[in-house]
């Protein structure tokens, strides 16, 4: 026998199911009056610093069909490259920017939309600068454990070329699955769950 490390096991994930909106965006799904507004629906206000951008996209299944019951959350640094989090020790993030947003994919067209600011660069663990990016988390009926990925910007080729994460993608053509389309300030980021154009998902 040896000493017991005493660690607990993480609670296992289960799918968010088709009615995730009841809990996470009740106003969106026709349950008004419980909360004033849906959490994460407004990321910026008049005082938020930085370049305003819009990110739209869809989540597409293995048959090429957009999901109309998915929900996306994003997490990003502010324009100066600081996170609004207690674990951010490099400085104080913009108090007018929480850095977190939540949006369901549209019930008719499957499109999600985030109005936010372009994030500044943040360092990797070894200190090298990462290219500007937004972290995505995707949940839906049929997804047993939320999927993490990142969106990078098409107008940052030099930063993307030296990004430590993008540089680790063995099959180089797949790097493009993490780079948005569109042009500033309107970016388009389609997420392919499966198949030839499958997005690179992360075990973080």
């Amino acid at each position: 026998m040896v000493q017991d490390l005493g660690y607990l096991k993480e609670t296992a994930s289960q799918t968010a199911g088709p009615y995730v909106h009841i809990g996470l965006t009740p106003n969106f799904c026709g349950i008004p009056g419980v909360y004033e507004s849906d959490l994460g629906s407004a990321m910026v206000n008049d005082k938020t610093l930085g370049e305003r951008i819009t990110v739209t996209g869809r989540v597409i299944d293995g048959a090429g069909v957009p999901l109309k019951d998915a929900l996306i959350e994003i997490w990003q640094a502010d324009a100066a490259g600081l996170y609004n989090s207690p674990s951010e020790l490099r400085g104080h993030a913009d108090p007018n920017f929480a850095g977190w947003g939540r949006c369901p994919t549209g019930a008719d067209d499957g499109v999600f939309t985030f109005r936010t600011v372009k994030p500044g660069r943040v360092p990797a663990r070894d200190g090298r600068p990462m290219a500007p990016h937004i972290t995505f988390w995707i949940i839906a009926r049929g997804i047993n454990l939320g999927l993490h990925t990142r969106m990078y910007f098409p107008d940052e080729p030099a930063a993307n070329a030296e990004d430590p994460l993008l540089g680790r993608i063995e099959h180089r053509h797949r790097t493009q699955t993490l780079v948005a389309g569109g042009t500033a300030p309107n970016y388009v980021f389609d997420i392919h769950l499966q198949g030839e154009k499958e997005t690179v998902f992360l075990d973080i």
């Binding site: 993480e10 289960q14 909106h21 009841i22 809990g23 799904c29 026709g30 951010e88 939320g146 998902f201």
Partner: protein, 249 residues
């Protein structure tokens, strides 16, 4: 509301997720997973600042009835119909430490198994006094509680005759975005648990048992509501030994 340990915010990366404990993406007995599961390997990334940080929410965002599903959608003086229950517990991390300031959101069907959602067509009736959503934030010891009615089981189009066990959906925020978790709580003694294809996506029986809340008789409120206890464990944080210190410096 920071994750203080000896007064300092923690900045360690999270313990790697045990993906043999969680359900895999491709679980064909849960049919929708077939076309919604990635087929390529995930790219592993030791958490950077983009993953070890995450949004933290203040108690001031909560309304008075946010954790009372019996009343938060009900007309004044009325309440939802069903078995009145309290659900309570702690949010811990894998090191057994309390996670304070964790936002929990929950949603569920009514006592008859009917969800208040436009895509739901089950013939069981809606309860005019039940919405089905609630939220709360853990206190400094990681505790939370809410009041609701026990949800009913409901049929769903998967197999010809599949029924979900009674369950409450939970969404949990820890302190890092890598801890983000959605799960479902089941009720002690429900025979439907062991027939359910969604429960069955979890390969390890012990992981399933961790999702089953026991009846907490000691905390049952006489003549009012029974209690169920449900503890939630989020990923632990690594200690930051020797990090970012190049050799020789």
């Amino acid at each position: 509301m920071s994750n203080h340990h000896n007064g300092r915010p923690e900045t360690g990366a999270f313990f790697p997720r045990d993906r043999g404990w969680h359900p895999p993406a491709f679980t064909p007995s849960y049919k929708t997973s077939v076309l919604r599961s990635p087929q390529k390997a995930l790219l592993s990334l030791d958490g950077t600042i983009s993953e070890i940080t995450g949004p933290v929410f203040g108690h001031s965002m909560l309304g008075e009835l946010d954790n009372d599903l019996i009343h938060n959608f009900a007309k004044p003086g009325e309440s939802a119909i069903g078995e009145r229950i309290i659900v309570h517990g702690r949010v811990l991390d894998e090191r057994g430490r309390a996670v304070q300031g964790a936002l929990l959101e929950f949603w569920q069907a009514n006592a008859g198994g009917r969800y208040r959602h436009k895509k739901e067509s089950y013939l069981a009736a809606l309860d005019p006094n039940f919405g089905g959503c609630g939220r709360t934030i853990t206190d400094e010891n990681g505790y939370y509680y809410f009041r609701t009615i026990k949800p009913g089981p409901y049929p769903w189009p998967n197999g010809v005759n599949d029924w979900r066990p009674a369950h409450i959906h939970f969404s949990i925020f820890g302190h890092g975005f890598a801890q983000r978790l959605i799960t479902q709580m089941y009720f002690e003694g429900d025979p439907m648990i062991w027939k359910c294809p969604i429960v069955g996506t979890i390969p390890d029986r012990r992981a399933i048992e961790q999702l089953i809340a026991p009846l907490d008789w000691a905390n049952t409120i006489p003549m009012d509501a029974r209690a169920y206890k449900f503890d939630i464990v989020l990923r632990g944080r690594r200690s930051t030994f020797f990090e970012n210190r190049p050799e020789g410096n």
